[in-house]
């Protein structure tokens, strides 16, 4: 399925609504290990040299912290930065890539020798999103989970959040939170990238900056068993990525030359070098600094990178930014934002 939004006349409606990323924050657990340390600790299945050549150096590991702990960190940061009254938030969207992160039992895996194991049916009804709403005192917020889109889940949540604000302005603000902690003791390299734990949060509302101009999303369900179709997944990635980026830009009425900075996922520097070649995009217009120092956070790459790019002065007011992500499922997500 290939869907996009912001086509006419919807473009005018959304642009008028001026929904944007009013505030954003991320959280990374403090345990940071180099590739050599990950190898030493038995947390790599592939070659250190290959991963290094693909641009990776470090990963963050959530030792003892759950995905929910990290989500609370990131969400509180956004609420503090924005100084919003939690009661103003009408919708909380909790996005996760890993199925384990959609449960409260994520940290049991290592003890039980499995990635995820629930003991009772009742546990199937224990939702981290509800827990998060209570923890943050978002008393007016309706709650929903967004998942099954791999590392594109957060972008899907942002897209849904924006659409909800357009459809129901009385929601006031939407808080999108995403957090994932990889099962402990599992290798950290997945399809030639290094996975970090982390979380991020985004406050969507009518905003003067980071206005969302267009969104695009492609799902290719035939690749649902990504691990069994790894070569096909890699082959599908590049043409679909290129086509989605160009089609999303077109729906924003922009061209690649209009984009000041691409805010990428961190699924390997090498993949971006190749994608830049296919798009004829200079690599210095892609913010790749975090690929080496953080690795690929399942939950938070785009927001992590956007936050750091802003804080480092890489983004000026009025700059057009392109956020792009990819998740198992398979899912590709793209968003054009005006800072």
């Amino acid at each position: 399925m290939n869907t996009t939004s912001s086509t006419n006349p919807a473009t005018a409606t959304v642009a008028a609504a001026g929904i944007g990323i009013a505030e954003l924050a991320y959280y990374l657990p403090p345990d940071r290990r180099s590739l050599a340390e990950l190898h030493r600790d038995g947390l790599l299945s592939g070659s250190v040299d290959t991963l290094a050549s693909f641009g990776f150096q470090y990963a963050h590991l959530a030792n003892g912290e759950t995905h929910l702990d990290m989500a609370v960190h990131a969400a509180r940061d956004v609420l503090d930065r924005s100084a919003i009254d939690p009661a103003e938030i009408g919708l909380l969207l909790y996005a996760t890539a890993l199925t384990s992160s959609a449960t409260m039992a994520a940290n049991r895996a290592a003890e039980r020798g499995s990635v995820l194991r629930l003991d009772t049916v009742a546990e199937c009804f224990q939702y981290p999103a509800s827990t998060l709403q209570a923890e943050l005192e978002l008393t007016r917020a309706a709650v929903a989970g967004v998942d099954q889109q791999g590392c594109a889940s957060l972008m899907a949540a942002m897209r849904l959040g924006r659409a909800m604000l357009v459809a129901e302005p009385e929601l006031g603000a939407v808080l999108c939170v995403s957090a994932d902690a990889f099962p402990s003791n599992e290798p950290r390299d997945v399809v030639y990238n290094i996975v970090s734990d982390g979380a991020c949060a985004v406050l969507l509302r009518s905003a003067a900056r980071n206005r969302i101009l267009a969104c695009g999303h492609v799902t290719k369900g035939s690749y649902w068993d990504a691990a069994a179709l790894e070569p096909e997944v890699i082959a599908a990635y590049f043409p679909t990525a290129r086509n989605l980026i160009l089609s999303t830009l077109a729906r924003a009425g922009l061209e690649l030359d209009d984009i000041a900075l691409v805010i990428p996922h961190n699924v390997s520097r090498r993949s971006w070098e190749i994608l830049c070649g296919l798009l004829k995009l200079p690599q210095d217009r892609v913010y790749m600094d975090n690929i080496a120092r953080v690795g690929h956070t399942v939950a938070a790459d785009n927001i992590l990178n956007l936050r750091d790019a802003i804080d480092e002065g890489r983004v000026a007011a009025g700059d057009k930014l392109l956020l792009f992500t990819f998740g198992f499922g398979l899912n590709w997500g793209c968003m054009v934002v005006e800072h």
């Binding site: 070659s47 070569p231 082959a235």
Partner: protein
């Protein structure tokens, strides 16, 4: 009357050519050199050739390197030598390619030189002796410094050099063919090559990108066209010292059009394939493609490596667009045989491959 010796007669073009030659009473005898006359394909070919043949045809057992012994008893009668045999594997070890294509041709030419009644030697070559040249490639041209996309091209270039040298003493003509992909109208494929392999990988969703530009010509011909032009040039218009391009030339389909047609046909012919939502490969510049290919090698994934290597064997050729000028061939073939619509040929072949699950006909 004539005795004709043919090498490579059991290949896709050779088999069709022999079928045509035995049907016209222009030779007393046709002998086809083969290394394994008992093999099933040879037996089948012999049966099909002999059905309705006006000329006796049979196999001579031997290789190019043992030709002098294998065909010793017919040497005095031979008037025509048609040398089609070649090792066409792009990725084969250079020494194997050289042994077959250079040493083999040298042996055939040496044998021809000892045939007292010899009147014509036709040597099949490839338009890709032009290697990595760009622009217009003319028929008389051979030498260049552009290099080659693979060891096959290099071996055929060296083969042409020794063939041209032999022109001083022998009545030799060179027929450069482009990629023969199948039969006209039916699209039937009797021998799979890089063209079919690449499309099969596209069909399998294993090719994310292809080096080249949308307007890069992809020169392909039908096996029928190759056979009937060689038949005419050898039988009716033989000219010693000539080199002809038997190819699509300016009517070659363009890479972008070919890919779009391929995707359209795959969608039309295989509804189940549509579910996979496979995208058309992106056309990449050489540097980007090489970075991708290097990454695949570093990944160590055997399936991805196999797919990348299949493309790698001709990848550099796609980044050096060229048009093979056919002026000299057109001058002698005008009004005799029509060049098929290359795009239609491609579409027919793709349909055949899909319907036959990428297996060549017996």
């Amino acid at each position: 009357m004539a005795t004709m010796l043919i090498t490579g007669g059991s290949g896709a073009i050779g088999a069709e050519l022999v079928r045509r030659l035995v049907a016209e009473p222009k030779a007393d005898r046709i002998a086809v050199l083969t290394r394994a006359p008992g093999a099933a394909r040879q037996a089948m070919l012999l049966e099909s050739w002999r059905a309705g043949a006006k000329v006796p045809v049979g196999f001579v057992r031997g290789s190019m390197l043992t030709l002098a012994d294998a065909a010793a008893d017919m040497r005095a009668d031979i008037t025509h030598v048609l040398h089609l045999a070649a090792d066409t594997r792009f990725s084969a070890p250079p020494e194997e390619l050289r042994a077959a294509n250079v040493d083999g041709t040298a042996a055939v030419l040496a044998f021809a030189g000892r045939c007292p009644r010899l009147s014509a030697v036709a040597v099949a070559s490839t338009v890709y002796v032009a290697g990595l040249r760009q622009g217009t490639v003319r028929e008389p041209e051979l030498e260049h410094e552009a290099g080659f996309a693979n060891a096959y091209e290099a071996s055929k270039h060296e083969m042409e050099r020794i063939t041209r040298a032999a022109m001083r003493d022998l009545p030799v003509a060179v027929y450069r063919l482009s990629t023969a992909i199948g039969e006209e109208a039916t699209g039937k494929v009797t021998s799979l090559n890089a063209f079919h392999t690449a499309l099969r990988l596209v069909y399998g969703g294993m090719i994310p990108m292809i080096p080249g530009a949308a307007d890069t010509p992809i020169d392909v011909i039908s096996t029928d066209y190759a056979a009937r032009t060689i038949q005419h040039l050898l039988g009716e218009r033989f000219q010693a010292g000539a080199t002809y391009h038997l190819c699509a030339g300016t009517s070659a389909p363009l890479l972008g059009d070919l890919l779009e047609a391929s995707m359209r046909i795959m969608r039309e012919r295989r509804p189940a394939w549509r579910k996979r939502a496979i995208e058309m490969p992106v056309l990449a510049d050489e540097r980007t493609y090489e970075l991708f290919a290097r990454s695949v090698l570093e990944s160590g994934d055997p399936m991805m490596i196999a797919a990348a290597q299949a493309v790698e064997s001709f990848a550099r050729q796609l980044t050096r667009p060229k048009v093979f000028d056919t002026s000299e061939a057109d001058a002698v073939l005008a009004g005799v045989t029509a060049r098929p619509d290359s795009m239609q040929l491609c579409e027919d072949v793709i349909r055949y491959c899909i319907e036959n699950e990428w297996r060549a006909a017996a």
